[in-house]
């Protein structure tokens, strides 16, 4: 064929559309950009967009379709871990290629997946380190607050182990979960307030997208100020704050590998491109174009894939996988991001940002340089023996 097909597997309807729609547009933007520069190996990229509609089994079905019917060379997609878990057996079986752009809980490595979001050690642990430091307020008590699913649960498990290793007692950690789509945070916030009476407290929030607005609104109204009880979130970025009145939230934190407010030439360029694209396509919200971490991760992903294909001179999955090792890309976050030689995760810098009144973040802390991902967290028992690379031959042979 004279085009290379690229699958885009992000929910455009249902609960996850809120987060995933922009990622679809980011891929489309990158494809336009690549095509404008002559494509890949002289071939144009042809996007194949499908809507798995926030329905996890549908993710698997659509993957089968993308790989089996449309014969795409690569898939950019998924947000929630469960959607990735649903897709994983399919890409492994059909030997496809998936780029997953969102921070996640780790505990997984697949030959057929490249993880361009953060592993827990690239986000959660640095954030906690910061909050424990003097500059971060010297927190001694911790509320680990999350939506009840595997990413928050695992992250909190890792954090609990980590905090313990730092001498924090179990009684000084309060772990709380709310159902998906929970919208009434009165009790939770009151509990946090009460808990904080026992000493300097910080909240680590792994609340999932939709519940954040009610959570933050409640926080603001209950008068829980960042300087008293700072909240650091791992799933709240510029996009999520679009829906909140940020004035009462000034000073609360988020830990990411990218913020829109980062000053770097690559980022200026990235934001410019995105703004232009959003305007040109009349995307909703284009009057206030926002970029965020998963978008950056998506953008890095597709560009690295392009480089790898060019290096491998083929779109063959195995060849591209081999060529991906050690790829580098000048990331908008201002570093040269590198795909690890072995573990399919990016090396990333970690930034801690404080929320500003305009919904952007002030970077108040960052790691000295890129951090290598540890998908198998050392704080989970038994992981020390795991090889830091995908086990060969996991995929079951077909046809």
């Amino acid at each position: 064929a004279d085009t290379i097909k690229v699958g885009i597997l992000h929910s455009l309807s249902g609960t996850m559309a809120i987060s995933e729609t922009t990622l679809k547009d980011t891929v489309l933007m990158a494809i336009d950009e690549i095509n404008a520069k002559g494509g890949v190996m002289g071939k144009k990229l042809e996007p194949v967009v499908v809507d798995p509609a926030s329905n996890w089994p549908l993710f698997a079905e659509k993957t089968k379709q993308l790989l089996g019917q449309d014969k795409v060379s690569v898939i950019f997609g998924c947000w929630t871990s469960v959607s990735r878990k649903s897709v994983l057996p399919v890409v492994e079986e059909m030997n496809g290629l998936l780029f997953y752009p969102v921070q996640y809980e780790g505990e997984e490595l697949s030959k057929n997946v490249f993880y361009t979001g953060a592993a827990p050690n690239q986000q959660a642990i640095p954030a906690v380190d910061y909050l424990m430091s003097k500059a971060g307020g010297g927190a001694k008590r911790w509320v680990l607050l999350g939506t009840d699913y595997v990413y928050p649960r695992t992250t909190n498990k890792i954090l609990r182990a980590y905090l313990k290793s730092k001498g924090v007692k179990d009684t000084d950690i309060d772990e709380k979960y709310t159902p998906f789509g929970h919208s009434d945070y009165q009790t939770i916030v009151a509990d946090v307030k009460k808990f904080s009476q026992g000493g300097k407290t910080a909240v680590v929030s792994t609340i999932n997208g939709d519940s954040n607005v009610p959570f933050y609104k409640e926080l603001g109204n209950a008068g829980l100020k960042a300087k008293d009880v700072p909240v650091v979130a791992f799933s709240v970025g510029e996009e999520e704050l679009r829906g909140v009145d940020t004035k009462p939230l000034v000073g609360h934190l988020a830990a990411w590998n990218y913020f829109q407010s980062i000053k770097s030439p690559a980022n200026t360029e990235f934001i410019k491109k995105w703004s232009a694209y959003a305007k040109a396509k009349k995307l909703p919200g284009s009057d206030k174009p926002l970029t965020n971490d998963p978008m950056e991760a998506t953008y890095i992903g597709i560009n690295m894939w392009k480089q790898a294909v060019e290096k491998a001179k083929s779109t063959d999955t195995d060849k591209v996988i081999a060529a991906m090792a050690g790829q580098t890309f000048n990331a908008p976050s201002g570093i040269v991001s590198k795909m690890d030689e072995k573990n399919h995760h990016l090396h990333k810098s970690v930034f801690i940002g404080e929320i500003k009144a305009d919904g952007q973040f002030n970077v108040v802390w960052k790691t000295p340089g890129p951090v290598k991902a540890k998908p198998w967290s050392p704080y989970i028992e038994g992981n020390d023996k795991k090889p830091d690379e995908p086990v060969k031959g996991t995929s079951v042979a077909t046809k």
Partner: protein, 528 residues
């Protein structure tokens, strides 16, 4: 943390030995690592004069920008030199000064300390509140002379006693056992949750047995007085959740409870109300920025009308063909709900949009030391009550209400009585939809405004209407309040997830006892 202690000693001296603000001080407070800036702040404040205070205020207000090595104070969009107050051109590359939490909290403390001696009683009260809200031990000790001085100078009895508490909290760390005992005794009267923190921390490090006993006694007393606040807080949040459930269910009580339309698009009608609120907010931002705080008042009727018109359109085009076939309405309204969701996705995007609380709705009234009732919740409770009363009046006291009830019970015969049933149906459905719109307007103040807004409430709203007894307005009220309070009490006890499960199981069991809801219709008329 010497430098922080320094800050407070220094402020005591301000009145006598003021220095002019220096360029170095400005630079120190503005540039560099946070901890160094905090130290610079301490030093500057120690020698500070009015100008220093003004600059600290500007820093705290995020009204300072930098360009290169130079700092600018921004006032009304113009830039001024912090040292000379001369107006300067603001370079294009000027950047905001970033104040992390630590810096911000020190700025507040410095300002509070400065204001402790203000002539304005309210400023003093605010300053005391700020200081009382701080529970950093290091700072506490340093604060003592300052507090003592303020205490001596204070004339207003209320403020004086608050300062006394502040002093006691600090004295708790005194090396003098007698002082510690006295402080503990004083603190036992406190209703401030911070006192608890102080007592707990002291208790952890206290070695003297007598003092320990006194601390323990004080702690139990403080906890006992706080417990009240917790309980009332739980009830309040129950009522508040109940009022939201009520708002969400009221519209459905008409479209479903009275008209029998299993209205799966009810949530989307709320969503339309919320988006209407968003649009009104946008219009105010654009055309009436001065009156922005009142946008919500304008949004209420707009939200009602937007949803009511959509409801009327739906009734005319789809629903009207389905009366007497309630199960078919389930299917059609499900379709409508899908389309409406996609419609807002197409128009406003898949992401949430931001709806701000007006200023008068943020914050809350402090009822007890640890119980403050947020204004937005209070407003919603009052709003829900008003909507309920209005609707109850309309349904039971007006002719329109009578016709609605008559038409929904027996459409052909109502028609034979001379009632224009088609029109009444449209009005009734529009009314129910409009009330959904009002609910959406209220929800925009506490939660997400996005295409999924409605989906999150559809199950709850049906549960409330059905649990109350279909067609029973009073039942709807009881059900909403009951579920709200039950949910909040269980949540405090079992956590949010199990509480939700328990509430659902409760509903299942409750219906066994009352197969027709709380307010079951009894007798023959129920079968007709």
């Amino acid at each position: 943390m010497m430098f922080r202690k320094l800050l407070f000693f220094a402020i005591v001296l301000i009145a006598s030995r003021a220095h002019a603000l220096s360029a170095d001080e400005v630079k120190g407070m503005t540039f560099g690592e946070t901890e160094a800036r905090v130290e610079a702040l301490a030093r500057a404040a120690a020698n500070g004069d009015e100008k220093t205070a003004a600059f600290i205020q500007a820093l705290s207000d995020d009204a300072v920008k930098t360009s290169g090595e130079k700092a600018f104070v921004i006032k009304d969009g113009k830039a001024f030199d912090p040292l000379t107050d001369a107006e300067l051109p603001l370079p294009a590359d000027a950047e905001d000064v970033i104040n992390p939490n630590l810096m911000r909290s020190e700025l507040d403390n410095a300002l509070a300390a400065l204001k402790l001696f203000s002539k304005d009683e309210r400023l003093r009260a605010a300053a005391i509140k700020t200081l009382a809200g701080n529970n950093d031990k290091d700072v506490d000790e340093a604060r003592l002379p300052l507090i003592e001085k303020a205490y001596a100078a204070e004339t207003v009895p209320g403020l004086k006693s608050q300062l006394e508490m502040l002093r006691a909290a600090i004295l708790l760390g005194s090396s003098d056992k007698a002082k510690r005992l006295e402080a503990a005794a004083q603190l036992s009267a406190s209703k401030n949750p911070n006192t608890k923190t102080v007592l707990i921390e002291r208790l952890a490090s206290e070695s003297d047995a007598d003092v320990k006993v006194a601390l323990q006694a004080a702690l139990s007393k403080v906890e006992a007085s706080l417990a009240w606040g917790d309980k009332l807080g739980a009830i309040f949040s129950g009522i508040s959740l109940g009022s939201i459930l009520l708002l969400v269910a009221l519209g459905l009580a008409i479209t479903y409870g009275l008209m029998g339309v299993i209205n799966m698009a009810h949530g989307e009608l709320m969503m339309i109300g919320a988006y209407a609120t968003y649009v009104v907010q946008g219009l105010f931002q654009k055309y009436l920025p001065g009156a922005f705080d009142w946008y919500l008042l304008a949004a209420v009727p707009v939200a009602f009308m937007a949803s009511a018109l959509m409801g009327a359109a739906l009734e005319r085009s789809v629903i009207r063909f389905l009366y007497g076939r309630p199960l078919e309405t389930l299917l059609a309204t499900w379709g409508i709900s899908l389309m409406l969701q996609q419609l807002v996705r197409s128009i406003f995007g898949a992401q949430n949009v931001g709806v701000e609380n007006p200023v008068w709705m943020s914050g809350g009234v402090q009822v007890l030391g640890n119980l403050s009732l947020p204004y937005n919740r209070l407003v919603i409770i009052v709003f829900a009550a008003a909507v309920l009363l209005g609707m109850a009046w309309l349904i039971s006291k007006t002719r329109l209400g009578l016709f609605v009830r008559g038409v929904t019970q027996n459409r052909p015969i109502a028609s034979c009585m001379g009632v224009n049933t088609a029109r009444i149906d449209t009005y009734a459905f529009a009314l129910g939809s409009g009330i959904a719109g009002l609910a959406g307007c209220a929800l925009s103040q506490v939660g997400n405004v996005g295409p999924d807004l409605g989906q999150g409430y559809i199950v709850d709203s049906f549960m409330v209407v059905v649990l109350g007894g279909v067609g029973q307005l009073a039942g709807t009220v009881y059900a909403a309040m009951g579920l709200g309070i039950l949910n909040k009490f269980l949540e405090g006890w079992t956590g949010a997830v199990l509480a939700k499960i328990a509430v659902l199981v409760f509903i299942i069991i409750f219906i066994q006892k009352r197969p027709q809801g709380i307010f079951a219709m009894k007798g023959r008329s129920a079968e007709a």
